[in-house]
Each structure stands twice: as structure tokens, then as C-alpha cells.
Symmetry: C2
């Protein structure tokens, strides 16, 4: 009889959720089976249900924990006395670091949210839409300030957010530059592409 190993302060459910992130990232939500997950956790599939409600629930858990982190960060940044370009850079660096250090969860949230079920799906889409609007608003302020080139702000947001998800390829590459170098390169190119002049 195999027990799920837990360190102090980490519930068995949390262990399952984080293993699920790894599995969903690797295979995709639909292609990952509960039996796969059970094997990864070291237990029989049915045993998982002592800790979780359903497979979809795992996805909820992952998606909203990530989404909430970003929402809190943009709250913080909006009330930060920095220039617009400074705010953009801060947000960008936050995204990059999240993608580097919480790779699996962020990636799964990014790519697999489509498989959420209503009402979570609508909630998620809403939260996402609002986040992007707030991000775009920061850029628009920068454009009015002449800090930022005259560009379409939603397009700029879309470029940034998707460019960041490219860190997935960095994670899987064999010859990696360091995380710090990666961050600096991304900021140089992306912020460099926005700055007026």
C-alpha cells in the first residue's frame, strides 16, 4: 500500500495538483489520463479521488491559481509610481520569471484553459480579458506620454504575452543560456521595440 509522500505543510492534494501540472504540460489536458497521473503520484487511479473532486477540478485549480497571481501583480503595478515604460517592464519581468520558475502551471494555464467547464470557463475568459485591457491601458498611457511609440496597444500586449510563452522552448532546449540572460534578452527586444526613439 503506497502512500503519497508529503513534506510538512504540503497537503496530499497539493502534491497531486503539482504533478498534474507536469503531466498536463507534457501531454496536454485531454491526452493525460487519470491513470497516468496516478502512476506519476505513485498510487492507483481511484485513490486520487480521496483528495480531488475531478480531473477538471485539477485544471480549475491550476488555471485560477496562476491567473490570480497575475491579477494581484497588476493591482500592485498600477499603484506603483513608475513611468509607463517602467510599469511595462516590471510586468514583463514578472511574466518572464513566473514562466521560468513556475513553468508547468503557467504553461498549462496558458494552453489548456479551453478545457475548463462553465462557469469556470467564462470566469476565466473574463478575468483574462480584463487583465489584457489593464495591460493595454498602461501602454496607452505611455503612448500619450510619448514614452512609447504610436502603436496599437492591444497588439503590443498580445505580442508580449505570446512572446513570453516562448520560454517553453527555452526550457526544453539542451543548450540553455542562463535564466538571467534570457530575461535580459527578452526585455531588450520587447521593451526596445516599444520605446519611442
Amino acid at each position: 500500500m503506497a502512500r503519497i509522500k508529503t513534506d510538512k505543510n504540503i497537503s496530499r492534494k497539493e502534491v497531486i495538483v503539482s504533478k498534474a501540472a507536469i503531466l498536463f504540460r507534457e501531454k496536454g489536458f485531454k491526452a493525460a489520463s487519470m491513470r497516468d497521473l496516478a502512476e506519476l503520484v505513485g498510487v492507483e487511479a481511484a485513490s486520487l479521488y480521496n483528495h480531488i473532486k475531478s480531473k477538471t477540478d485539477l485544471l480549475h485549480e491550476l488555471c485560477f491559481s496562476v491567473a490570480n497571481r497575475f491579477t494581484h501583480k497588476i493591482d500592485e503595478i498600477e499603484s506603483d509610481p513608475a513611468s509607463s515604460i517602467g510599469k511595462v517592464e516590471k510586468l514583463l519581468r514578472f511574466h518572464i520569471n513566473e514562466m521560468i520558475s513556475h513553468y508547468e502551471e503557467v504553461y498549462v494555464c496558458d494552453r489548456e484553459w479551453k478545457h475548463l467547464a462553465d462557469p469556470y470557463l467564462s470566469n476565466f475568459q473574463n478575468q483574462r480579458r480584463i487583465y489584457r485591457k489593464r495591460f493595454a491601458a498602461i501602454i496607452e498611457t505611455g503612448i500619450r506620454n510619448k514614452e512609447i511609440k504610436k502603436i496599437d496597444a492591444p497588439t503590443a500586449v498580445l505580442i508580449m504575452l505570446h512572446a513570453i510563452s516562448g520560454i517553453e522552448s527555452w526550457h526544453r532546449s539542451v543548450q540553455k543560456i542562463s535564466a538571467e540572460e534570457l530575461e535580459e534578452n527578452m526585455v531588450t527586444i520587447l521593451v526596445g521595440g516599444l520605446i519611442n526613439k
Copy 2:
């Protein structure tokens, strides 16, 4: 008895493949069932097999037709007497236009290739790796020429390619800027982020 409608010069198989692109884009490869596809085509699921070999085969078809278009384009651009930055811009514009006008196929190729089966999977990964190296090589030449900032070329490639896949969000947004504006904005930001001063 419902027949698959075909215009001149479009085989029934091609109709199925292009409907598959739409479906796979919307639901993801694994979540899309052959019965879904059949309904979209206007026929019973079993009837599809008079025209195609398997579900996976549809994915092969899609992925390689897209990948080959990009391979041919980079062949063409490499032997083009343009500056490095000019080459990058041309390739970037090609990607953007492909993503705009062959949305479903390009998107599916981008996101669902993981579900290819060997040996196609290895072939695809190989082709992709080589393509990215060639793209990076163009950028590296530009860096040596001082046309392009001193950055990590593979990172620049990764940013560009992923930024482009953000056009997905543009497609699904209600208030769209025009395709031309989108292209110009993306080029401004991305090429602008590379140019040395």
C-alpha cells in the same frame, strides 16, 4: 444520403483535411472526435474512412503542409540579396500573413504537432529545429554586421515565432484592427526591437 460537396479541383479528401483544421483549432486534436468531424463535413463518421487513412493522418497532412511552406520560404529568403534585417522582416511578414490567411492550419501545426506519431514526430521536430537554426543564423549575421543589437539570436527567434502565434487572439477578438494594421504594428515592434539604434 449526403455527399461531400466539392468544387472543381478540390478533392473530397482536401475538404475533410480543411474541415479538420477548423475543428482541431477549435477543440484541440485530442478533444476533437471523428464524429465531430463527420458532422462538420456533413456525413457519417465511418464514411470519412473512404477518403482518409486515420485521424493521425489528418494531423500529418496539416503539419507537414504548413512546415513545408515555411521551409520553402526560408530557402527563398536565404538566397535573396537583402540586408539581414531585411531578411528578418521578410520572413516575419511571411509568418504574419500565413497566420492571418491560413489561420487554422498554421495554428494547428503550431500547437498540436505533439500528437504526431513517430516517425512523423521526429521528422517534424527535426525540420522545426533546423528551421529555427536557419532563422537564428540570419539574425547572427545581422549582429556581426552591426545591423542588429547584440542579443541572443535563438531567443530572438523564439520571441518572434511565439509573438506571431498571438495572431490567434486577434482572429478571435471582436473589434479587430485591419490585417494590414496588424502586420505593420507587429513589424514595428518586433523589428524595432532588433535594430541597432
